[in-house]
C-alpha cells in the first residue's frame, strides 16, 4: 500500500468521510479496473507509458505555482499520486488512498488543460485526472456539494433544484425588470420555430437572475427571434460531467439538445458559462455519440461579437475605467474565442489591459472543473491555491475584471475578496448593456 501525503489543510467533507466508510477492497478494485482496463485503457496506455517524468508541465499549473512550487501539486505530481499508484498496485489501494485520490482529483485540478500546452508530448493530464474522478464516482466517493449538484441534475435536469414553476416565475420576474428599459419587451417561452433558443445555467435563475434580463435586452435591441424553453432542458450546465457521473451527464445533455429540437430552433445561444459550453461542445455530445453538437451552438461572447460586427448592436458609450479580461479555459483553450472577446472589449472599453500571460496561456481561475462546486469546506484551499491569479490580476492595475464564465466569475470574486484586490468583477454582458444604444422606438 502506498503512503499518504501530509495534510496541508484540515478539511472535513461529509461526502468523502461517509463515502470512505462504505468502501471495500473489492469495490475499490472493481471501480479502478473498470476505468484502467476498459473505459480509459487506450489513452492511459499511451500517456502513462510515454511520460518521461521531465516535470516540464509543472510551470503550467496555477495550483503548483500558488503553493510555493510544491511538486505534489504539479500536474505530473497529481497523476503520480493517483493513477501511477493505482497502476503499480493493480487497483489494490486502501480506502484512505482513494479518499486522497478524490481530494486530489476533485479539488487540486480544474481540468483546465493548460498543462497539455506545456507538455512536449501533449499528454492530456486533465483527461487522466477526470478518469480518477470517474473511479471515485464509481466508488461513491464524491465531495458532498458536488454530489448534490449531480443529484439535482439527475432529479430535476438542472443544477440547482429549480422547479418548473420557479423557473417560469423567474423568467416573468426578469421580463418585468427588463420592461423598465424596454416596455414592450417579452421573454418568449416555448416559441416553436424561433431562430434562437437561449439557454442558461441553473445558478442564473437561482442567484444571478439579472443576467437573464440583460440578455433579454440584448435580444430585443438586436431584433433577434428568440425563445426560452419553459420545460426541462433549459439548463445547459452539467456538473455530473465533473463528478464523473457520465451517465447522468448524458441524460442532461440529451434533454438540452432535445429541448432545442422540440422548439425547432435554428441554433442555441448560451449564456456566459464555460463548463456548460465544454459539456455541449466536446464532452456531453461525445458521450451521446455526436461528433460535434447536433445543433449549432453559439457562446455568448461569439454572439455579442457577431451582433456588434453586423451592426445590430450600436455602441454609444465606453467604459472609462481600466478593464482587464480573464480568459476562461473552456471557451479559450476550449473554443478559441480570444479574438471575439477582445473585439467586444475594444469596442466598449477605453482602457483595455491584457493580463500576462494571456489568451490560451491565461492562468486558470481555480474554480472551474467542479472545484468550486465542492463547496464551502474547500473554499480556503481553493483561494489560497490561486495566489498566482491574484498577483496576475493586481499587476494589470485594472479596476474592472471581466470574467465571462460562471465558475470563473465566482472563483475570481473570492480571490478579489481574499486578497483584497481593488477590483470589480463583472460579466461581459453587464458592461455591454451599459454601452449599447437602446433605440427610441423601443423605449416608447
Amino acid at each position: 500500500m502506498s503512503n499518504l501525503l501530509p495534510q496541508k489543510w484540515d478539511i472535513t467533507d461529509i461526502g468523502l468521510e461517509e463515502g470512505i466508510k462504505r468502501l471495500t477492497p473489492d469495490k475499490i478494485r472493481t471501480s479502478i479496473k473498470k476505468v484502467l482496463e476498459s473505459e480509459g485503457v487506450a489513452r492511459i496506455n499511451a500517456y502513462v507509458n510515454t511520460c518521461i517524468h521531465c516535470g516540464l508541465c509543472a510551470v503550467a499549473c496555477h495550483v503548483y505555482l500558488s503553493n510555493d512550487c510544491d511538486p505534489r501539486f504539479s500536474p505530473v505530481g497529481k497523476v503520480k499520486n493517483t493513477l501511477w499508484e493505482m497502476i503499480k498496485h493493480d487497483g489494490k489501494v486502501s480506502p484512505e488512498f482513494m479518499k486522497q485520490a478524490a481530494e486530489i482529483s476533485y479539488t487540486e485540478c480544474t481540468l483546465c488543460k493548460r498543462c497539455s500546452m506545456y507538455c512536449p508530448f501533449g499528454i492530456d493530464m486533465a483527461y487522466l485526472i477526470s478518469l480518477v474522478r470517474r473511479m471515485c464516482h464509481l466508488c461513491g466517493l464524491v465531495p458532498q456539494y458536488l454530489q448534490d449538484t449531480a443529484n439535482s441534475h439527475s432529479v430535476t435536469m438542472n443544477q440547482m433544484w429549480v422547479k418548473q414553476d420557479e423557473w417560469i416565475d423567474t423568467l416573468q420576474w426578469q421580463e418585468e425588470e427588463a420592461q423598465a428599459e424596454i416596455p414592450s419587451l417579452r421573454i418568449p417561452l416555448d416559441k416553436e420555430g424561433a431562430d434562437v433558443m437561449y439557454s442558461v445555467i441553473g445558478p442564473e435563475p437561482k442567484f444571478l437572475a439579472q443576467l437573464i434580463n440583460y440578455a433579454a435586452i440584448i435580444f430585443n435591441v438586436a431584433g433577434i427571434d428568440w425563445t426560452m424553453p419553459s420545460f426541462d432542458g433549459w439548463d445547459n450546465s452539467d456538473m455530473a460531467m465533473y463528478s464523473g457521473d457520465w451517465e447522468v451527464m448524458g441524460r442532461v445533455k440529451k434533454a438540452h439538445f432535445e429541448a432545442a429540437m422540440k422548439l425547432k430552433v435554428k441554433k442555441i445561444v448560451m449564456g456566459e458559462c464555460g463548463h456548460a459550453f465544454r459539456s455541449v461542445y466536446d464532452v456531453g455530445n461525445r458521450w451521446l455519440g455526436w461528433k460535434m453538437h447536433p445543433i449549432p451552438i453559439v457562446h455568448a461572447i461569439q454572439f455579442y461579437a457577431e451582433l456588434i460586427r453586423q451592426g445590430r448592436l450600436k455602441i454609444v458609450r465606453k467604459i472609462k475605467e481600466p478593464v482587464t479580461f480573464h480568459d476562461p479555459c473552456n471557451i479559450m483553450r476550449g473554443r478559441g474565442l480570444m479574438d471575439d472577446a477582445r473585439y467586444v472589449l475594444q469596442q466598449i472599453c477605453e482602457d483595455f489591459r491584457e493580463m500576462y500571460p494571456t489568451r490560451e496561456h491565461n492562468y486558470c481561475c481555480n474554480a472551474g472543473g467542479g472545484v468550486i462546486n465542492c463547496g464551502p469546506p474547500w473554499k480556503k484551499k481553493r483561494v489560497e491555491s490561486n495566489k498566482i491569479k491574484a498577483e496576475q490580476m493586481a499587476a494589470t492595475g485594472a479596476k474592472i475584471v471581466v470574467t465571462p464564465c460562471h465558475n470563473c466569475h465566482s472563483g475570481i470574486e473570492d480571490i478579489i475578496h481574499y486578497y483584497k484586490l481593488p477590483m470589480k468583477n463583472v460579466f461581459l454582458i453587464e458592461l455591454l448593456v451599459e454601452c449599447i444604444e437602446i433605440p427610441e422606438e423601443l423605449k416608447a
Binding site: 496506455n45 517524468h53 501533449g122 490560451e360
Partner: protein, 216 residues
C-alpha cells in the same frame, strides 16, 4: 563474447526493436479502435502536424522559450543521439562489410563532438533530475536506468574510438549497450520515440481542429 554481440545478438536487437515497435503501435491502434474511438474520430492532419511542427522546432513552443538552456540542451541531446549512430563512419563501414550498403557519413571530428554533446547533455539531464524538485519528485530508479541506457552507447563508443581503455572490451561493451538501447525502446518509456508523434498529433488535432486554440 565479441562474436556473440556482433552476430546473433545484433540480429535479435534489431528484430526486437523493429518488431516490438510495430507490435506496440499495432496494439495501441487496436485499443484505440476498440475502446477509445474518439481519438481516431478527431484526428486532423493539418492541425496535428502543425502542432508536431511547433514542438520539433527549437523555441517553437511557449514552454521552450521559458527555459532556453534546457531547450537547447534537450534538442542537442536528441538530435545528436539520433543522427550520430546513423551517420557514424565506423557504423557505415560495418553496414558495408555485412550488407554491401553504405550512405553518407559525418566527418569523424563531427561525430566525436556530437558524441561528447550527448554525454554532456546526459549529465545535465541527470543533474537536473536530481536537483530540480519538480523533476526529482516524479523520478524513480527507472528514470536513471533509462538515462543510462541512452547515454551508455555514446560513452562506451567514445572510449572505444579513442582507445583509451581496453579497446576490444570497450567495443564489445559499446555494441552491447547499443543493443540494449534498441531493445529497450519499444518496451520502456523510451517508447516516446514512437509515441511522441501520436500523442502530440492527437492533442494538436483536438486543439487545432475542435478547440480552435494553439497548443504550443
Amino acid at each position: 563474447m565479441y562474436d556473440f554481440v556482433r552476430g546473433p545478438l545484433l540480429w535479435v536487437a534489431f528484430i526486437v526493436f523493429i518488431g516490438g515497435s510495430i507490435l506496440r503501435l499495432a496494439y495501441l491502434a487496436y485499443l484505440a479502435k476498440k475502446k477509445d474511438y474518439t481519438v481516431l474520430t478527431y484526428a486532423n492532419f493539418r492541425a496535428g502536424f502543425r502542432s508536431i511542427l511547433h514542438w520539433i522546432v527549437p523555441f517553437g513552443a511557449t514552454n521552450m522559450r521559458l527555459r532556453p538552456v534546457f531547450t537547447i540542451v534537450s534538442f542537442l541531446f536528441h538530435i545528436c543521439l539520433i543522427l550520430t549512430p546513423i551517420f557514424l563512419l565506423a557504423h557505415n563501414v560495418v553496414w558495408y562489410q555485412s550488407w554491401r550498403i553504405s550512405w553518407w557519413t559525418f566527418p569523424e571530428w563531427l561525430s566525436d563532438v556530437m558524441t561528447v554533446i550527448v554525454i554532456l547533455a546526459g549529465i545535465y539531464l541527470l543533474v537536473r533530475r536530481m536537483v530540480c524538485k519538480e523533476v526529482r519528485y516524479v523520478t524513480s530508479a527507472s528514470d536513471y536506468v533509462l538515462l543510462a541506457i541512452a547515454v551508455m552507447p555514446f560513452l562506451t563508443g567514445f572510449l572505444a574510438y579513442h582507445q583509451w581503455l581496453a579497446y576490444k572490451a570497450m567495443l564489445t561493451l559499446h555494441i552491447l549497450s547499443g543493443e540494449i538501447m534498441l531493445m529497450a525502446i519499444p518496451f520502456t518509456r523510451l517508447d516516446h520515440m514512437l509515441f511522441f508523434w501520436l500523442t502530440r498529433f492527437y492533442m494538436g488535432s483536438e486543439f487545432g481542429a475542435v478547440r480552435h486554440a494553439k497548443d504550443w
